[in-house]
């Protein structure tokens, strides 16, 4: 009896571990910033390089930081989703234009629509490093106290908006 049970048991354990492994997303690296103050930045805006926006200006508001670039293919897939989210006006959406050419970025927004209240320039990618950005697009949710509450890596889908972002934004707005 044991002779048949042992291989079966080993197989079951292996199968369970492999199934867990298959369902994990290795691209999803937990952000060390969750529940920590957002890394501060003061950056030039895309529309007017003479003006700057800093994280301190956004205190008291619930805001999203969406890291994007005109060269980023997944950002294009994500773009209509962000446009729809922007229409709902649930939070301020700040775009971090990551390692992009301002001209390309402007053309991109003119052609595809602009979901961002403000886009800021990170041409060197240094702010990206400060925020632990490793794959564009990435989206952070920051609460009224300036604390990072959630991070999404990769393109945001309508399903993510519905299941995660909307409930989170509503609770943060009520806080």
């Amino acid at each position: 009896m044991l002779k048949f049970l042992t291989p079966l048991l080993i197989f079951a354990v292996l199968a369970i571990f492999l199934a867990i492994g298959l369902n994990l997303n290795p691209r999803e690296i937990p952000s060390p910033f969750i529940d920590k103050p957002a890394p501060p930045f003061t950056l030039q805006t895309l529309d007017d390089p003479a003006r700057t926006l800093s994280t301190a200006d956004l205190k008291g508001q619930v805001w999203l930081l969406n890291v994007w670039a005109s060269w980023c293919v997944s950002c294009r897939a994500e773009h209509p989703v962000l446009n729809r989210l922007a229409e709902q006006k649930l939070a301020v959406i700040i775009g971090l234009n990551y390692k992009d050419e301002p001209e390309d970025a402007k053309n991109w927004l003119a052609r595809l629509g602009n979901p961002y209240d403000v886009s800021v320039l990170d041409m060197e990618g240094l702010t990206g490093i400060d925020w632990g950005v490793y794959g564009v697009p990435e989206t952070f949710v920051i609460d009224k106290q300036g604390v990072v509450r959630y991070k999404h890596t990769g393109p945001v889908t309508d399903k993510d908006i519905e299941t995660t972002f909307l409930p989170l934004l509503n609770t943060l707005q009520a806080e």
Binding site: I29, P32, P39, D130, G132, Y134, G135
Partner: protein, 155 residues
């Protein structure tokens, strides 16, 4: 045609070498040593199974530049490691620290060794018991055979 192929492959090699060589000047050999050991211990987060020394991804280049800049500013090795883990978490380290969360990672090899030894021990013991009982069985059987043969002689 063959010439074109040859040229293609030769040039391909040149490009790969050009991409891999980055000229960096260091103040001291010690600093260069720290730089090289750091970049081969930090994970490239885009191409996760490479260090930032091995990877040509944009982010790896930026992180190498960041490490270089911090060392030039006189930052210590530990300060660079802290800078990276603050932003990217322990995952960025190929040599993660021993913590409650990573204890399984560190202790698993030992655990598997113990399991392996236990299995080997039980298998060996079982084998030994089996051969032992088999040999007693054999002598009992041959006894029986001898008895039967003797009976046959009597007849």
């Amino acid at each position: 045609m063959r010439i074109i192929f040859l040229a293609f492959f030769l040039l391909w090699g040149v490009e790969a070498i050009a991409a891999a060589v980055e000229v960096k000047n260091f103040d001291t050999p010690e600093q260069e040593r720290v730089y090289n050991s750091l970049i081969s211990e930090l994970r490239c987060l885009v191409c996760q199974n490479q260090t930032i020394a091995d990877s040509n991804a944009d982010l790896a280049k930026d992180l190498r530049a960041q490490v270089y800049k911090m060392l030039q500013q006189g930052k210590s090795r530990q300060e660079v490691v802290d800078f990276m883990t603050q932003r990217y978490g322990d995952f960025v380290l190929y040599n993660p620290p021993m913590k409650a969360k990573t204890s399984l990672l560190w202790l698993a090899p030992l655990l598997f060794l113990v399991i392996g030894l236990l299995v080997a021990w039980t298998v060996v013991r079982k084998k030994r018991l089996a051969t032992h009982s088999e040999s007693t069985h054999d002598s009992a059987q041959s006894e029986e055979i001898r008895r039967l043969l003797e009976q046959g002689d009597d007849r």
